[in-house]
């Protein structure tokens, strides 16, 4: 059972609530203060991704965030209920930082030809790639239904 569990309807406004809550629990779990921004960004990215997927595939379902500080480490799990291939989930984490330039082709990004929604300027899987770039210990696993993004931070040595 998670230490703290948050369930929220898939609205962008709630993502801020989730990342602030994650920061509070991470601090309590002993995560170093210098990593709190990273926790906020990573949990925020995972929740924003889940909101996007739910808005497309499961608007009536809640997103679940589990925050654990009981195992010597701080673990944040974000569960969505969309199709597990809603974005390039597994590939993106496999890609990690080294392959980000492939995912994020600078020339393609800067191409002024595209006139559509700039919010869609980032390729699918970009949010997950950011998480993989930030967090050393991240697992993205298909659930039934959906995906679980699990991020782990060790407590600071004191």
């Amino acid at each position: 059972m998670p230490t703290v569990e948050l369930r929220f309807s898939p609205l962008p406004a709630h993502v801020r609530t989730a990342r602030l809550l994650a920061a509070v629990v991470a601090r309590r779990a002993g995560v170093d203060e210098s990593l709190i921004d990273e926790v906020k960004l990573a949990v925020g990215e995972a929740c924003a991704r889940a909101v996007g997927i739910h808005q497309a595939y499961a608007p009536g379902d809640e997103i679940v965030v589990e925050l654990n500080d009981d195992g010597g480490a701080f673990v944040a799990c974000v569960r969505d209920r969309g199709p597990s291939d809603a974005d390039t989930a597994v590939e993106a984490t496999g890609a990690a930082v080294a392959d980000l330039p492939d995912l994020l082709d600078v020339d393609v990004l800067a191409d002024p030809g595209e006139s559509g929604d700039p919010g869609a300027a980032m390729p699918p899987g970009f949010g997950l790639a950011v998480i993989a770039g930030l967090v050393d210990d991240v697992e993205v696993t298909p659930a039934d239904p959906g995906t679980v993004v699990r991020m782990t931070w060790a407590p600071s040595a004191r």
Binding site: L109, P112, P118, G119, V130
Partner: protein, 113 residues
């Protein structure tokens, strides 16, 4: 904290001062601002991010979208940022190669390609 936006003109540059948090909730507001500016003929933008507390990939997407729009008019989009926590996400994503990032508004306004 919400997003705050203000604009001013310096020479032929339009400076957009952004404060607060740019995330999946607030980014549409910034996107609208950038679209409005480009629609009104402002093609050389300087986005001052010194008062931004949080930036996620949605915010990055909006900035990239803005860059595309100004480039379609042979314009430019320069960023002002010295905060390490914000610069980090530009570095992780390789976007430091896409955006000119300056330490001060003065430097960004006087920069030329």
């Amino acid at each position: 904290m919400d997003l705050s936006l203000s604009t001013r003109t310096e020479g032929n540059r339009t400076v957009v001062v952004v404060g607060g948090e740019i995330d999946v909730y607030t980014a549409p507001k910034l996107r609208e601002q950038l679209i409005d500016l480009v629609s009104s003929g402002a093609y050389h933008l300087v986005v001052d991010m010194e008062s931004v507390d949080f930036l996620d990939s949605t915010g990055l997407g909006v900035l990239v979208g803005g860059l595309k729009r100004v480039r379609a008019h042979d314009g430019s989009l320069r960023l002002v940022c010295t905060q390490e926590r914000i610069l980090k996400i530009f570095r992780i994503t390789g976007l430091t190669k896409v955006f000119p990032i300056h330490a001060t508004v003065e430097e960004a306004v006087s920069a030329t390609d």
